[in-house]
Amino acid sequence: MTLLLLCFVIFMLMGMPIAFVIGIAGFAYFLSQPQLPFEIAVQMTVQQSQSFAFLAVPFFIFAGNLMNVSGITSRLLSLARLLTRRMYGGTAQISVVMSTLMGGVSGSATADAMMETRILGPEMQRIGYKKGYIVAVNCTTALITATIPPSLGFIIFGFVGEVSIGRLFAGGIIPGILMMFFLMATTSITSRYHKYDPPRPEAPKLSLTELFKNLKESIWALLFPVLLIVGIRFGVFTPSESGAFAVIYAIVIGKFVYKELSWEKFKNALVTSFKDNGAIMLIIALSGSFQWALTWVQLPVALSKLIFGITSNPQLLVIIMLVFLFITGMFVDSNVNFLLLTPIFLPMVKSLGVDPVHFGVLMATVVTLGVMTPPIGAALYSVCGIIDCKVEDYTKAALPFFAAIMLELCLLVFFPGLVTWIPNMIFGKF
């Protein structure tokens, strides 16, 4: 176990890409054990790419990229603008509402955070928002996108933990909407405190005619998550197939309804998608030997003994795990966290009677939050890079948003019905 963890830490500190860190650490363990043929390590790597559930990963990545170039995103943005134009911190509120609306068509927090910062960042800077605040709002609100179905985190958790992805998708609806309210309240309070973007008295009140006119335009995007859940529920498609459906849907809407999808845009979205997919799949594939080695050295057993030694109260145990995931999320890639820690934590919470869908939604939220927390976070660095913001400024401005998310998570821990009510209603009780 020492060799495995030592390799992991040393390679990571040396700045090696995380996919190679876990891959090489796993391979090093295999090489150190003469009784383990090295071919198994290679076989594990190949096998990881042969999961039907993982098919949803490239599909939803591609669908998200297509939605951005097919005119769906711009229509959702205009709806978000309409809904928030008389609010305090109106432009920041657009980001919160936009993330919620995008949640129904995209599953990646990093992609959403980047897209919104590119669109809203310059406008927010012009109005007088500070860079740290701009990044904080656009980055943290992207967590809503990753919570509302479809969600890449749910797919990976569902695959690793063998939990129904359809149920997880349905379980993310209320927490996602709740997160929107928590973050809208935080945006309102913080923008009042900083005196950012007060409501303009000349902005006209939202009229029903205006709203319906806008809804008519964006209905195709808003309809998508509904079609997704209904399609999975009635067995029209499996969660993996729903990803292929999402791609076809985006192409049809972009080409024939909004008429904005050109061959050039399609090609660019395709190239971006297979690169994004390759980067994620490399981590997933190379984690195969590492996961196997972790089980071989019985780390899950040791860790569960340690945690059960602290408490056996289910809620307290879940909170301890979430804190642990929050800390590991600050340093380790979110996909790695899912792949390595789901097989350890899920059996523990199941043995205490915690609903796996409930835990899945909580875990996916905290692990995905890891891409936004300093010192290491994919979304954080990508978004800070876009408007050239210092990580320290971001961290300071993001603290109230992190606090709001934590508060929401506590609420979800003690009221599991908020997560499980919709999946139980749609798919029936476990």
Binding site: F11, M12, L13, M14, G15, M16, P17, I18, A19, F20, V21, G23, I24, F27, F38, E39, A41, V42, Q43, T45, V46, S49, Q50, F52, F54, L55, P58, F59, F62, V236, F237, T238, S240, E241, G243, A244, F245, V247, I248, K267, L270, V271, S273, F274, K275, D276, N277, G278, A279, M281, L282, A285, P375, I376
Partner: protein
């Protein structure tokens, strides 16, 4: 140190001479086209299998073919991402190091990665060789094709890594000269 590395640099540049460079660029282009086509087929097969199932028609070979496409698209896509600098490490510690030491650490990391890729390609080939007789249940294609995707991608990533090493050494040598 840099002077010692320069001869190695020349050796590593052999595959990237003028004509070799053209071949390499052509290979990169082919790789991207294969990835794009694989992605397209993947979506087509899975969407079609869902539609056919609605009409109670089961085509299990669609799924098998899609999984094969997934492996090739994923591994070759990983190389494209690696080549375009999309797969990066966390430099929270290394960025605080002096430039010379940082370059040496980067070089060591790239050399470890290159060595691992060679090992993966060798053992992958051995595994594919042992699997050469096994066929998919639904179609007369050897299962070894899946393993071969990892072998091809490992070789391809090895060359991308050599390119990165070459760039790094040139950067190191350039700095050394200017100093």
């Amino acid at each position: 140190m840099y002077l010692l590395l320069l001869p190695c640099l020349r050796i590593s540049c052999i595959p990237f001479g003028v004509s070799m460079r053209k071949i390499y660029l052509w290979f990169c282009r082919v790789e991207e086209i294969v990835c794009g086509l694989g992605f397209g087929f993947l979506i087509f097969f899975i969407f079609l299998s869902a539609i056919l199932r609605l009409f109670k028609l089961s085509m299990s070979w669609y799924i098998d073919l899609a999984m094969l496409c997934l492996a090739w698209t994923a591994f070759l896509g990983a190389d494209v991402a690696w080549r375009h600098g999309q797969i990066i490490g966390v430099d929270i510690v290394t960025r605080k190091l002096p430039a010379k030491i940082r370059w040496i650490v980067e070089l060591i990391v790239l050399l470890i990665i290159a060595a691992t890729l060679v090992v993966m390609a060798i053992f992958g080939t051995r595994l594919a060789w042992t699997e050469r007789v096994s066929r998919y249940q639904s179609m007369p294609i050897p299962l070894a094709l899946v393993t071969l995707s990892l072998v091809v991608a490992s070789v391809s990533m090895f060359f991308s890594t050599i390119q990165k090493i070459r760039k790094l050494i040139l950067q190191m040598a350039g700095k050394g000269e200017s100093k």
